[in-house]
Symmetry: C2
Subunit: 212 residues, 2 copies
């Protein structure tokens, strides 16, 4: 599909990355050949090599572009949590939504692939960690800093607060999904309860007690 | 090495599991053959097959036995956190020690291998999750329940409290280790500060404010 204003070369690059992403998620890194990616993208193998030096570079691009996309959503969600929205209910919506987004099946598969290859391709894992994981923490920390400066919460160290927020929210469901391969996902209601409990705990640390 | 009172067959089983563990961590699941494991264990291939039906079963045993060993240590550590030890300092020692133990290089490699194969061998990941991850949560929850019943902390839902404890403590360092392949580990002092901050936050939720 063509995106308006996109150059022909940018379009090809994007289509190859999309095809590569599907192939890697389907068959793993070792199980995927550049030939297959070319076929899926509807281009020649030469074209794939013209855009990406080798399979590792292409996999790196898949990882980088997914990290950036994921973070864009998190940034959007945290920006939404403006002053007016800041309440237990607002944080709950943020927590539930972020959790569901990060437990997306394709994203979990990519996460597993990166971890599987972290020893062999440390550069790749580091890129995911920096461009995805840490930027997500940074977006959340920026949000907590803004709210603290407006007197709506108290997070002297907003980065630590962000790590506590995500840690309480995601430790159980993310590990469960990583290890059990999502074969037996929890119900939406159960996940929502889990998210709400983590928000309640988070506010016990960083919230400002209301005058009654 | 022979352990006193151990039968010859139990000794062989144990030695094969040890050899298999080293081989899998070194070369991954696909890169390891039963032949190599036999050589490492100093037994014939037939002997390996007599004890374990196939490679997947043997890998399953490696995972199960590591999960049980890890949990034994956690159980020991949480049991130590008796009433007398329960203080911010006692929890800090527990947090620092548990974190260091779980960030052990070999353990991280095994964790990566399990995640890498979670889609292909869901039974395996589920066994690690149940026998390792969940039992560790249970040990911690039992400890928090005991302390709550003695009036030393307030955790109405000790399982949720355990997930908050581990989540705040491990979310950042465990993800960093998983993705960056431990190529650039944090300093001990930095990890200790991280552990202490998570204990401070944990007590803000579940601790009992001291009368002053």
């Amino acid at each position: 599909m063509k995106i308006e204003g996109e150059s022909r070369s940018a379009q090809k690059t994007r289509e190859i990355i999309q095809a590569a992403s599907m192939a890697f998620l389907d068959k793993g890194y070792d199980g995927t050949s550049m030939e297959e990616i070319a076929t899926k993208a509807g281009v020649s193998k030469q074209t794939v090599y013209k855009h990406f030096t080798d399979k590792e570079t292409l996999f790196g691009e898949v990882v980088r572009s997914t990290a950036v996309q994921t973070n864009d959503v998190v940034e959007y969600v945290t920006t939404m949590l403006g002053d007016a929205e800041f309440s237990e209910g607002g944080l709950q919506r943020l927590a539930r939504r972020t959790m569901r987004m990060l437990l997306d099946d394709e994203l979990l598969k990519l996460r597993r692939l990166i971890i599987a290859n972290a020893d062999r391709m440390p550069q790749l894992g580091r890129s995911w960690y920096k461009d995805g994981f840490e930027r997500m923490m940074d977006s959340m920390a920026a949000c907590f800093q803004r709210l603290t400066s407006r007197g709506l919460m108290k997070a002297d160290d907003p980065h630590t607060a962000a790590s506590h927020f995500f840690g309480m929210l995601l430790w159980i469901p993310m590990n469960e999904a990583m290890f059990t391969g999502n074969s037996d996902p929890r119900s939406k209601a159960e996940l929502d309860r889990h998210a709400d409990a983590s928000v309640e705990a988070f506010l016990a640390i960083y919230g400002i007690p209301r005058e009654s």
